[in-house]
Amino acid sequence: MSGTFVTLVAAEIERPSIDWHAIAPELILLGGGALVTVIDLIWLERVRKLIPTLTSLVFLVALIPVITLWADGSGLPRGLWIIDENVPATGVWEGAFVVDNYSLVLKGLFLLSAYVIVLLSTNYMSEGDYYDSEYYQLIAASVLGMLVMSSSRDLISIFVALELVSIPAYLMAAWRKRDLKSNEAGLKYMLMGVFASAILLYGMSLLYGIAGSTLLSDIAAAIDIGESRPVITLGIVFTIIGFGFKVSAVPFHTWAPDTYEGAPTPLTAFLAVASKAAGFVALINVVIVALPTQANVVEPFIWVLAAITMTVGNLIALRQTNLVRMLAYSGVAQAGYMLAPLAVYDGISDRATSAVVTYLVIYAAMNLGAFAVVIIAARKTRSAELSSYGGMFNYAPGLTLAMTIFLFSLAGIPPVGGWWAKFEVFRVLTEGNRTSGIALAVIAAVNSVIAAFYYLNIAKQMWFLPSPDGDNSRIAIPPALLAAVGLTVAATIVSGVLPGVVSDMTDFVNVAAGQ
């Protein structure tokens, strides 16, 4: 890449043309986000009610080029520049930005999750006392980071994307600024996040020092198989720790429960689903593309992380009495399952990737749904305490059924989505017939039983126990929230009953490396 830099400055500008189609989703989001900001600045109060709708529209419009790129699959993978035989020069950032099936699935996932998040936020924000237009603009910015992340194949662009995801999220976590809990949530998240970025960067600088390039494929080429030097190990471990914070892997999870509880609940859903997914995408990109030769270092490290993440997450979740915190710890445990395929990726990196992405997709549907129900319930009960869910079946049977579907899905009970996600993980773990993989599968299996205990505990409250205050008046569900629940229920059921729909999308050949 350095070569290109020099060429660009020295020689007359001869460059390949930009592949506008490939970067259209990002451009639309960038332009749309800016447009929404401008509209808000010009018309202020008069358009405030429209801002959420406009933002969600931007997400849906950005989804269009994702779909057309997918449909036009023949040209994939494509990059920032159109590769042209007649123009020998390469463009700057060549290879740093790659559009392939894998990144398109993730872009679709991020945009749809963001759409649901906006649906969840609409009433929450407009009924709170906090100025809310910027909230949506920050979400758009954060999602832009996620889109870039799914295409990043370069350490620098991964870092920039990760920060673009995180920095708006710090602000949003502290959104309810007169609420000390929210302040605390923002501060803890910010300090831990920045700390993680610093560690990540240090790891990246070491990787750069070893390989002499920030391009992931160059790093892969520069490190020989099984080559073992302390500096390589250190670079890898630091990088993975940095991502470990983002995906809330134990022992780097300490910020998650506090931030989740203190932040506005829709934002919690955003952090637990989209932001975590972005962390996983970064991890996959680095591990699969840059470190295929370093399985001997990466696998044991991730193995340990996955095992303790799922176990500790589940054990702490058992003791929670606040549903949001319980979901936070359950999210930690779920991150453990998602890490698991990366603990055995050597030789089957395509399968491992598709298992993680499948899990991310299904997890997004069921977890967003669970948060939607929590938000709806809180409109009536003003509480996320577990006991406040008592007797919900009596006054909100449909909502109870929806929550039950999400809970059974999270617990991995067929026929709803979660079982397929778990199955994919088990499949990868046992595929290589390696002791480490099967041992991790056994740990995961045992953990799914622990998890079932607290998920069922919630179901028990809703179905069998009386409501704590005897108030059985119905809950009025605003249309936006109803739509969010409907979408997530449908996605959860379809992914379980017709897993082919998901597996067709996530069955990629591989994560394309930039050239």
């Binding site: 502290a174 000390l180 501060l187 970025s197 610093a198």
Partner: protein
């Protein structure tokens, strides 16, 4: 005495360690924040040192990105710290125990 790149790398590692230790030991949010800056600067030194050693510009490019991102982080971070301080003057991280981690 010839100062080679490895000297810079050692300085960078030391700075990084100091920053990390400070972050873990100190309890004032502002000081913790400064420690993070220290760590980021250690990273910058390391990038530049490698860049020189490898005769490759990418490392120095990275430094620009790190600088910009760090500036953004400072803006956001300080605003959050200010928000907290307004509610709870002279707060340390330990005082923030509304939420039990």
């Amino acid at each position: 005495m010839i100062v080679t790149e490895s000297w810079y790398l050692i300085v960078s590692a030391l700075l990084f360690a100091i920053g990390a230790t400070g972050l873990l030991v100190r309890r004032n949010p502002l000081v913790m924040f400064m420690c993070v800056e220290l760590m980021l600067n250690a990273v910058n030194i390391s990038f530049v040192a490698f860049s020189t050693a490898l005769q490759d510009l990418a490392g120095q490019t990275a430094v620009f990105f790190v600088l910009v991102v760090a500036a953004a982080e400072v803006v956001v971070g300080l605003s959050i710290v200010v928000a907290v301080m307004r509610r709870r003057p002279s707060a340390t991280v330990d005082d923030l125990a509304e939420l039990k981690g």
